[in-house]
């Protein structure tokens, strides 16, 4: 491989990176712009930053609790998805039983139904059992659609751990369940973290179920964003501020577990 090819490759990748990130950088800049700077025909890259957008939306418009709501919903559904999904994934990774692969495929198909189709029936169902407008409803909804993701990813992570580790733990005095909880789960921790982060992101970014199932006071950030598009003008600065706040934690999380994230998604297709 010659040096000049390498430089060319780095050049191309740098361009791609710039293209990939510019929109986000622009939103970041926009969140510090006043309305006139935002609406100026000539794109302004340098300007007098204003910090007014953040307090305007988070304090005056009372969007701060929405960050909290987003956190509660996402954390809740992530914990629940992992608690319920990981054991199932473990069974898929370890036990052979009739129709296993069909059941596995069935779990995957649950991702295929368009949310729009499920949303209204789900709303009516939750209303019947009296859970609409509570945070439980959306946590459960997010959990059920995240399950397929957990089962998919964690099956791979568990299959990677030799079966003998479970058995060693059992010989050392653990029960079957104990071996899973005390030994396998800690061993799969990086994969578990990556899966959890992806669940968190899915839930954090989700709009439709959150909109339909959660009450006004419990609505998360995504549901709050359209509220800034008003007949008297879209408050772009505030939209940008919300977008920035809504994405920063995700970027940080992603950075932390990036390697396992990609590995987890490719399990089953890639060996090792």
């Amino acid at each position: 491989m010659s040096k000049s090819w390498k430089i060319l490759a780095i050049g191309i990748l740098a361009c791609v990176l710039v293209l990939a990130l510019t929109p986000y950088v622009w939103i970041l800049l926009t969140s510090f712009k006043g309305r006139l700077d935002i609406l100026s025909t000539q794109p302004t890259w340098f300007f007098m930053p204003t910090f007014a957008n953040y307090p305007a939306v988070f304090i005056d418009k009372e969007y701060l609790p929405l960050v909290f709501n987003s956190l509660v919903i996402s954390l809740g559904s992530t914990v629940l998805s992992i608690l319920i999904g990981a054991p199932a994934a473990y069974v898929f990774a370890r036990t052979d039983f009739a129709g296993k692969e069909d059941l596995f495929f069935f779990f995957l198909t649950t991702r295929m139904a368009p949310p729009i189709a499920i949303a209204v029936p789900l709303f009516l169902f939750f209303t019947t059992i009296g859970l609409t407008d509570t945070i439980y409803a959306v946590v459960i909804a997010h959990t059920s659609f995240n399950l397929s993701l957990v089962v998919w990813m964690m099956r791979g992570f568990f299959a990677e751990i030799p079966k003998e580790i479970d058995e060693a733990a059992m010989m050392d005095g653990r029960s079957k369940l104990g071996a899973f909880v005390r030994v396998i789960v800690p061993l799969a921790a990086p994969g578990l973290a990556a899966t959890a982060v992806l669940c968190f992101i899915m839930s954090w970014n989700e709009f439709l179920y959150a909109f339909i199932l959660v009450a006004f006071e419990g609505r998360p950030l995504t549901v709050g964003i359209p509220g800034l598009i008003t007949p008297h003008g879209t408050l772009w600065g505030q939209v940008a501020a919300v977008a920035v706040v809504a994405t920063l934690p995700i970027i940080v999380f992603t950075f932390l577990v990036q390697r396992h994230l990609v590995r987890g998604l490719t399990f089953g297709a890639v060996k090792g």
């Binding site: 052979d96 030799p162 003998e164 580790i165 058995e167 060693a168 733990a169 059992m170 010989m171 050392d172 005095g173 653990r174 029960s175 079957k176 104990g178 030994v183 800690p186 061993l187 921790a189």
Partner: protein, 351 residues
């Protein structure tokens, strides 16, 4: 009997029968080796004893207690796995201490037991390392230490040496022998390596296709193989078995002809390579065979003869064979006291 398998059968979901009505019993303090080629059911027997698998039928008892359906952790058995199965996220110390921690042993006691065990297995220097930083031999010792640290009555080892290189294997073999003598525990050791089996076992069980073929002391198994399978399995190289016919006290098969104490009829003759003797060509018991291949494994030499009917006969000797070349005829004899006889149809040993 400390441990006994009673009519134990294991049938897997796909229909394969891994163990077929196994009956086996042994005492505490023994070093039992389960020996057999792959697919013989030896590992299954070991896992059934561990409780990692449930038998399809039959009973397993430990000290008279039926443990057939008892989970592993209530059986008082330690186990060493072929791939060590160390907990990669824990230090060596924690790996070894783990069974004690589960049993809620006091911290000071854990410290002492782990130290002792590490001392015994010569891994005291590595206690703070992670498994990834250990060599194969070290990892193996950690696995053994973990299996033994909580003083189980029985310690199972499933082909524990097969992932080690040849030298280390020899070394570990000696270590295990030493350990067994010192700890006075029951060891159950699974291997397909007859040499390991011979050196370690107080008694060994030879399995074939899920059935117990012979269970006895190593020297008995070597000296009096219960059937043709055991005979062909044991020894390096394995025993020569020659199908032939006895007529008037003389066994004949191709170029082979020797005096036997057998009635007339077909029989399989067995003789260990090292027990074939060179003989002057004019001696009465001598037969002449043609050398096909010569293999020098100093200080020994293997001479492989091709007998009529395609059966090879191997001779092992310490005599200097420099002068012998392939294609050359050699005169040998089968001493009568070295001969084994097996039923031509069933392969069973006949006296």
């Amino acid at each position: 009997m400390a441990v006994s398998f009673k009519e134990v059968t294991k049938r897997f979901a796909d229909g394969t029968v891994a163990l077929d009505r196994l009956d086996l019993g042994f005492d505490l303090g023994e070093f039992i080796v389960l020996l057999g080629p792959s697919g013989s059911g030896k590992t299954t027997a070991c896992r059934l004893l561990a409780g990692l698998e449930q038998p399809s039928s039959g009973r397993i008892e430990i000290e008279g207690r039926d443990v057939t359906n008892v989970p592993p952790r209530f059986r008082g058995i330690g186990m060493v796995f072929q791939n060590y199965a160390l907990y990669s996220h824990k230090t060596v110390f924690e790996n070894i201490a783990y069974p004690l921690r589960i049993r809620k042993v006091a911290a000071a006691e854990i410290e002492r037991s782990v130290k002792d065990m590490a001392e015994l297995l010569r891994i005291a220097h590595y206690l703070q390392r992670k498994p990834a930083q250990l060599s194969g031999g070290q990892a193996q010792r950690v696995a053994v230490a973990r299996a033994l640290v909580w003083q189980p009555a029985i310690c199972l080892m499933d082909e524990p040496l097969s992932n080690l290189d040849a030298l280390l294997r020899l070394h570990m073999r000696t270590e295990l022998n030493r350990l067994h003598r010192k700890l006075d525990k029951t060891f159950v050791f699974v291997t397909h390596d007859q040499e390991e089996a011979m050196t370690l076992a107080t008694r060994m069980a030879v399995l074939k296709e899920g059935r117990l073929v012979q269970f006895d002391e190593p020297k008995t198994i070597y000296r009096r193989p219960a059937n043709r399978f055991v005979a062909e399995f044991m020894g390096r190289p394995a025993m020569n078995t020659i199908d032939g016919v006895v007529k008037g006290g003389i066994f004949k098969a191709g170029a082979v002809a020797c005096a036997v104490d057998r009635p007339d009829g077909p029989v399989t003759l067995g003789i260990r390579p090292e027990q074939i003797e060179f003989m002057a060509s004019n001696a009465p018991a001598a037969m002449t065979l043609t050398v096909d291949v010569k293999e020098a494994i100093e200080p020994d030499t293997l001479l492989i003869f091709q007998n009529a009917g395609g059966q090879a006969i191997t001779l092992r000797t310490q005599t200097n064979c420099d002068a012998i070349e392939p294609g050359q005829p050699v005169s040998v004899s089968f001493p009568k006291q070295a001969l084994h006889y097996f039923d031509a149809a069933t392969g069973k040993r006949v006296e």
